[in-house]
Assembly symmetry: D2
């Protein structure tokens, strides 16, 4: 490996593109080499994001009319628009990490039903590797396309893998996942319900039982466990900027204890440097804010258990996890550029 690889970012105006810049500028193995955008085309990064205090500067270029000369690309454009970008890069022989939903679902029909968009590159759906480093490290290492997980999907799956793996959750079991997420998860587009005076001091469910991340979660559970579960998934919007807390409820045929869960989760994530399984305390969103770290804790009562996962939707749920995937793809130290991030507190 060269000491530094050249990185391209497609889409630098939105929350995830900006967050990538915030993270990558500290990365010892990366040169941010070129950036692309549509609305911000022709603007320099120093003007687009003056507060990022970047030590370098780049002009934002148009993706489709320019050549692409980096080693790896992060695609931060909305679903539906990402698919052509990824496809073109792939055909040019570039490696790609796609932060959109466009290559997460293996069945084009499921994608098209879920997102209401036609998929123009169905052949690539099987090429893409689901970018969950805790599970698919080997596949990610050699992937041409990495489909970075949805933020809610990632939090949910991290709560479920050890339960599925240990047999505590079995085929057809009913599992409830109640998610709470900060408002940045809804993106930058203006909406009446995200106008400050509406959202502030408020809390509400959205897309209950039918959220777009459900097919992604279902697919990955099935892929991991070889069976399906009866999942009830409801996200709730809370009046904070960042962070997801997922509460995952399950029952078992035998009595379960906190000690047992701690052992199962600790073992399962023993090779996952960003997952912190905690015992006496419970996860809090502010403990992981602005980092790639994930806190997992639990509580049990007889045959019932609840697992809590806290992560930051923009870092561990999007941009920092994408960098984690890049580290694996290029054989960097897995935690390179990410290990020292600490939460902003207060």
């Amino acid at each position: 490996m060269p000491e530094k690889i050249k990185v391209g970012i497609v889409g630098v105006s939105g929350y995830t593109g900006r967050e990538l810049l915030r993270i990558l500028k500290y990365h010892p193995n990366v040169q941010i080499f070129e950036v692309f955008g549509s609305q911000s085309r022709g603007v320099f990064l120093s003007n687009l994001h003056p507060m990022l205090n970047l030590k370098f500067d780049l002009e934002v270029k148009d993706f489709f009319s320019e050549s692409h000369n980096a080693d790896v690309y992060f695609v931060c454009v909305p679903h539906g628009k990402a698919q052509d970008v990824v496809s073109l890069l792939y055909r040019e022989g570039k490696r790609v990490i796609d932060l959109s939903a466009d290559y997460r679902l293996k069945e084009a029909s499921v994608y098209e039903n879920t997102y209401g968009v036609k998929h123009n590159h169905k052949d690539l759906l099987q090429v893409a590797v689901y970018g969950m480093p805790e599970i698919f490290k080997a596949n990610i290492r050699n992937a041409a396309i990495v489909a970075n997980p949805g933020c809610l999907a990632r939090a949910t799956l991290l709560s479920l893998y050890p339960l599925l793996d240990s047999g505590l959750i079995k085929n057809k079991d009913c599992v409830v996942v109640d998610a709470k997420t900060g408002v940045s998860g809804a993106g930058m587009s203006l909406r009446d319900d995200l106008h400050f005076p509406h959202m502030n001091e408020n809390l509400k469910p959205y897309a209950p039982l039918h959220h777009r991340h459900v097919p992604e979660i279902i697919q990955e559970i099935s892929n991991f466990a070889g069976f399906s579960i009866n999942l009830m998934f409801v996200p709730h919007l809370v009046a904070i900027d960042r962070g997801i807390l997922v509460s995952t409820y399950f029952t078992t045929s035998e009595e379960i204890s906190n000690e047992k869960l701690f052992e199962i989760y600790s073992n399962f994530y023993s090779d996952s440097p960003f997952v912190k399984v905690i015992y006496r305390n419970l996860p809090e969103i502010k403990n992981v804010r602005a980092t790639n770290y994930v806190q997992i804790g639990f509580e049990t009562s007889n045959n019932s258990g609840v697992v809590f996962v806290a992560l930051d939707n923009l870092t561990s749920g999007a941009s920092a996890n994408a960098v984690h995937n890049m580290n694996i793809m290029f054989d960097f130290k897995e935690t390179s550029g990410l290990e020292e991030m600490s939460p902003l507190y207060p």
Copy 2:
């Protein structure tokens, strides 16, 4: 009935006592006649709560050293301390609405285990009526002691009654209740985790599966349905002042629809003037803030359903519901003094 009854309040410094004053001052059938307190003893209401803009004034007196001359008392002191106040008023022939937990549990041993306090008046536990107006209107009408429900218990039970009543939930069924509550629910006592810079922009579970309101919920389910369910109950603290949103998850043997749930809930609460069952929208905390109203909505998917209940923990979850109970006890119009409350928006 006289046109106006005399009301006494024991405990006027805390959130629920203050909220009672805010509500009762508008009540057409009430004269706030005497108020009692310990720390605030000797202070006048106009000095204790100048911003309440009361048209009358009263000196805060010591409860145990003064005589009691009102028709009905609201007891707003902490659990453990309320029991002697209630008992004394009862023996003096007064009617009492207790906002603490002291008379909610019918078994003294359950109370003592749950709250870590000895109960000195076990004989009165069977005298007290659980103050859930939507269910126990007849009993409340004649009650000597009304035990006002806990805020989380009230929200949870309102989500469950129609499911239990309709048979959608059956004996031994597993039900998950995920609650989110504003910080005022934790009271006025200073705590590190409620210090603004810790709590702001944060979110966390507390007392998962073992919260103090669980025995109360379990008792009332059993009392209502004649059977028990496998309840998993977890509250979460969110960075807002007021409001509870409860998400109640269940599965049924047959397919269930939104239409069916709307019909069941609408019918069940057809005589409950403060419960608003909604169909196309979903409950939001800000829709009911500062009122006695409750929003209930739902979503279904095949055999799964989730019910959302939004209410304000200090009004519908405490003080306004106590006034609702008083209206019933004294044969006032059920909605007297409460029907016109509207949420502060924004």
Copy 3:
């Protein structure tokens, strides 16, 4: 006076129209008789604002194609659009309270420069009375058109009148007014900088020294004092829903004390039932939230003084003050329907 007058509201979708409904429904001397709107035309209030829990219902009608049959109208449409509504009502012989800026400025050219809109009814500018009840009670009583003050102008002027009146501020004196206002003051229109993730945890100045309320403040100072001052006025947007705190800084030729200021302000506002001059404490926004009350406090040091005024921008700064004006216009008790409002705390 009849026991109840008929009220019409033009513009019921926005924050001030909704807030008027919230206030007027409690008013003992008012029947909300007809409501008008453009986007909400044809909708019933029970559907437009279900959470207001109104005991009556009305269909929203189109203002210009319908007849107008109430005794008094509140105009809650944006500046520029209000002027024709007010003019038409005036020519029909109706009394009007205009919550927009359209009739506040006496000079059409100042209005046109400030708001970038042509004024079509310049003859009415001298008809309109500035709706500051603490100063113009007599004129308001007989007014055909009341121009309700801007929220920031009202807070600022309330801090200044006693200083001007007492001679503590003199001709050409320099006065600094630093205002902090909640986000509802910026209205319901979506803006990037009011999107929750941008505004939350943020704070910034806007329109410093050149805010649209400055000409209104300057005009009223001159009108009241007969001279002009050198005013520096800067509002700041803070991440709360409601409330204004104004800090007004001045210097005097002689030493000034808190006692002296308390005496001056107490005397000046002795006939103003909604102004609370406080001494040992300082105003806080949460103390007056959701009410028509105003808190005024101060601090001094040698020849310097600062006056703090806290009020709620949507109530005392808009809709509740408009109702106060109505009370005066119709010889109701001045505090009718407003005196018992208390702040939502917490």
Copy 4:
């Protein structure tokens, strides 16, 4: 200079100590060598601050009973307690950066009146250098003791230096400084008014005209300009975690323009790498959150001007500025470890 110096921190439990750890762990020229504390004595950093994800670990030791073997010390204990710590380190020949107020004021009597604490090391008051890197770089370079400025004092002074330097503000001129600060500025100690349900959605002035930072500001103005001004300084507490926005109002004898101010400030701070003078936009707190950067902007109108300074009270207002001072003291690159910090947005 050695490549890395050994750093000691006295006081690691509070906000500023924790923030120092967050910053210094990225610093290329620093080894965090020893840490001291009282309540946390005997605890390891990995347990005290697990979420900081430090790559090293240290036991918290008792300061007065242990030897001190680092090259430089940051003192993060409260005022009154810091003075003995600093004095002992000084007498041991160590270089010290004191984040408390204990060595900021040159006159012991002023200190004692302001803080109500006796000063035991008056001889050292003249030894200490005021740690404002934008002004005192040369003195800081050789300082034995650096007194790190108070957060509000630093923001205020940064707004004033160019005005004083350019003669726009003259002897005896009246200047108003209205400051708004996040709640972390009030520290970790629990207080009723900082309890979440009291502070949330609130805003209030505190210590108006008499805040503890006033003597520090006055001293430094006099020290810099050789004359005194008539300063009116009022801080306000706003419901956000972090950040200060200072609005500084002044008048001049001649007309002033934005262009002129931009030129003056840009020139004055041309050698100050962390001060960003902006022209078309205005400072916002969220633009500098979590960084050592300072945004300065302005507006003018005839003879009046207002200068806005935004900085983060815990970084540029405390810990990051202390690191900036250390960089100067040890001839590191001035921006070492600080230049790439970027604000958490959203």
